[in-house]
């Protein structure tokens, strides 16, 4: 019984408890207790029926917690009405948990934490470590989130867009500790995709797989960033790419384009190019045009300027960039790249140094500083 399978069982056990009449917050606490107990006991004493074990322990924990004078009557009603254990839960139950945990009333960080715990079956400690906050803080964040959604009915469909956004956030957080958040996000999105059957859940899953495929080529052994054009494409995970492309094709065939499908299409075009020089930039620009229609985020428009620079030359890229606010994050990084491609290396070096000062993450700052250094110390300068 590996930990990932154990985690996979928790949302359906939680759904059964809720269906038996437990309120979501108490049921979720009980499942977390059962999960911690399983992590403690199972390595030496593995159960024959993992899910049955988890359900029994969680239900007992829930009843224990409810055992107070005021709760007694309600508990007796529940005991009388208890359905046969182990009834196979409908996938819909899990889907409703996704909707609840990503409820629009929650802030992004609360939705992320609650999703990872209630749907992802992670412990509070694991989530706290992944996000580098104290365990007590994460515990409070989760219990507040549960209070926020306490009155929400679990039997109504929610907003798919917020669920996808939460999973996107988890994936984009990447890999910062012992817990691989990108892999967690893929696992959760895969499960969601089965339950939801929506072109955009497919698009998001494809997007994740296509980016995850590049992971081992994205950094040097020392941890420095390797830009897409310089990655050793033989190190890309061809299995993940093939799966991502197949999922994307099926989604696009349904003719309901959304931003995740468009982003995945761009990633797929990169994956299709055996060498960076063979990239179909013209098609990539077309996809960026679609993406800008769907999502006018500054990141998208900056990346479009890079693509235009590749498709139509750096001059055209600079023209596209001129339409954007200079205060946008990464604006000077893109300008530096386009000036370098145009052969204006002194301007590029100055802009790379400026971009390094403005970088919001350390790996990118180091990368941009190295670019500036390479241009400033080039032979003959």
């Amino acid at each position: 019984m590996d930990e990932a399978r154990l985690r996979g069982l928790t949302p359906s056990v939680l759904a059964i408890l809720v269906r038996r009449g437990a309120d979501f917050a108490a049921a979720e606490d009980a499942v977390q207790d059962a999960l911690l107990e399983a992590l403690r006991v199972w390595p030496t004493d593995p159960p024959r029926d993992a899910k049955g074990w988890l359900l029994t322990v969680a239900w007992r924990r829930f009843l224990d917690a409810a055992r107070s004078e005021t709760a007694r009557r309600r508990r007796e009603e529940l005991l009388q009405g208890e359905p046969a254990p182990g009834r196979a839960p409908a996938m819909d139950d899990t889907l409703h948990l996704y909707f609840l945990c990503a409820h629009p009333a929650l802030s992004p960080s609360s939705a992320v934490a609650l999703t990872l715990r209630a749907v992802g079956g992670l412990t509070t400690r694991q989530i706290a470590r992944a996000y580098l906050v104290p365990e007590a803080t994460m515990a409070q964040r989760i219990s507040r989130a549960k209070r926020t959604v306490a009155g929400v009915r679990l039997d109504r469909p929610g907003d798919a867009a917020t669920v996808l956004r939460v999973l996107y956030l988890v994936f984009n957080e990447g890999y910062s500790g012992e817990l691989d958040l990108a892999a967690e996000a893929i696992r959760l999105t895969r499960r969601l995709h089965v339950a939801l059957d929506h072109p955009e859940s497919a698009g998001l899953l494809a997007l994740m797989l296509l980016h995850h495929a590049r992971r081992s080529a994205r950094t040097t052994p020392e941890g420095a960033l390797v830009p897409l054009a310089e990655q050793d494409r033989r190190r890309w995970d061809t299995g993940a790419i093939a799966e991502g492309i197949a999922i994307l094709r099926a989604a696009l065939a349904r003719d309901r384009l959304g931003e995740y499908q468009a982003q995945a299409a761009i990633a797929a075009l990169h994956a299709d190019a055996p060498r960076a020089e063979e990239t179909d930039w013209v098609q990539i620009v077309e996809w960026y045009d679609e993406l800008v229609r769907l999502n006018r985020s500054p990141v998208v428009r900056l990346n479009r300027a890079v693509a235009v620079g590749e498709a139509d030359g750096p001059g055209a890229g600079l023209v596209a960039l001129a339409e954007l606010e200079e205060s946008l994050p990464r604006h000077s990084a893109v300008a530096a790249h386009l000036h370098e491609r145009a052969g204006d290396l002194d301007t590029a070096a100055r802009l790379y140094a400026e971009a390094a000062r403005k970088a919001t993450n350390l790996a990118e700052r180091e990368h941009l500083t190295r670019r500036a250094a390479r241009l400033r110390h080039r032979p003959g300068s």
Binding site: P108, P134, T137, A182, H270
Partner: protein, 135 residues
């Protein structure tokens, strides 16, 4: 989901509105201040936004490497150093607006006369991990 450092300076920040040094406060004023700071940290933990809070001794030593096999060179403390950090708080919040709001709240800690100090705190974002999605 971004971390920010709230820096409190002994020296180096612009003067506070209620700029009376702590050693001139009454003991009730000091107690009220300490209570406010503790409550603030407790509340942040309850909202799931607290990461860390530490105070620093004012006297520091400058240390540098002095070559293979030689003991480190030390210097200071320098009375003339312009900037002196008194302590910090680290928060983990959803937006920059929230970070500003919390910083302002911390700056309102009571000082002399039980009135808010309005002290200047420095707010600095942490550098993050690079995003997974690169294009």
């Amino acid at each position: 989901m971004a971390k920010y450092l709230l820096l409190k300076h002994y020296r180096g920040a612009p003067a506070a509105v209620n700029d009376v040094p702590m050693d001139q406060w009454t003991s009730q004023e000091i107690s009220a201040h300490v209570r406010y700071m503790r409550n603030f940290a407790d509340r942040l933990e309850e909202t799931g936004e607290f990461v860390d809070s530490q105070a620093l001794a004012p006297e520091g030593t400058f240390v540098r490497y002095d070559g293979e096999g030689r003991p480190p060179v030390t210097d200071g403390p320098f009375a003339e150093t312009k900037d002196l950090i008194a302590g910090w708080m680290v928060i983990d919040v959803d937006t920059r607006e929230r970070a500003l709001e919390l910083t302002a709240e911390l700056s309102a800690a009571p000082g002399a006369g039980g009135q808010p100090i309005h002290e200047w705190l420095e707010l600095r974002p942490f550098l993050t991990q690079p995003p997974t999605i690169e294009d």
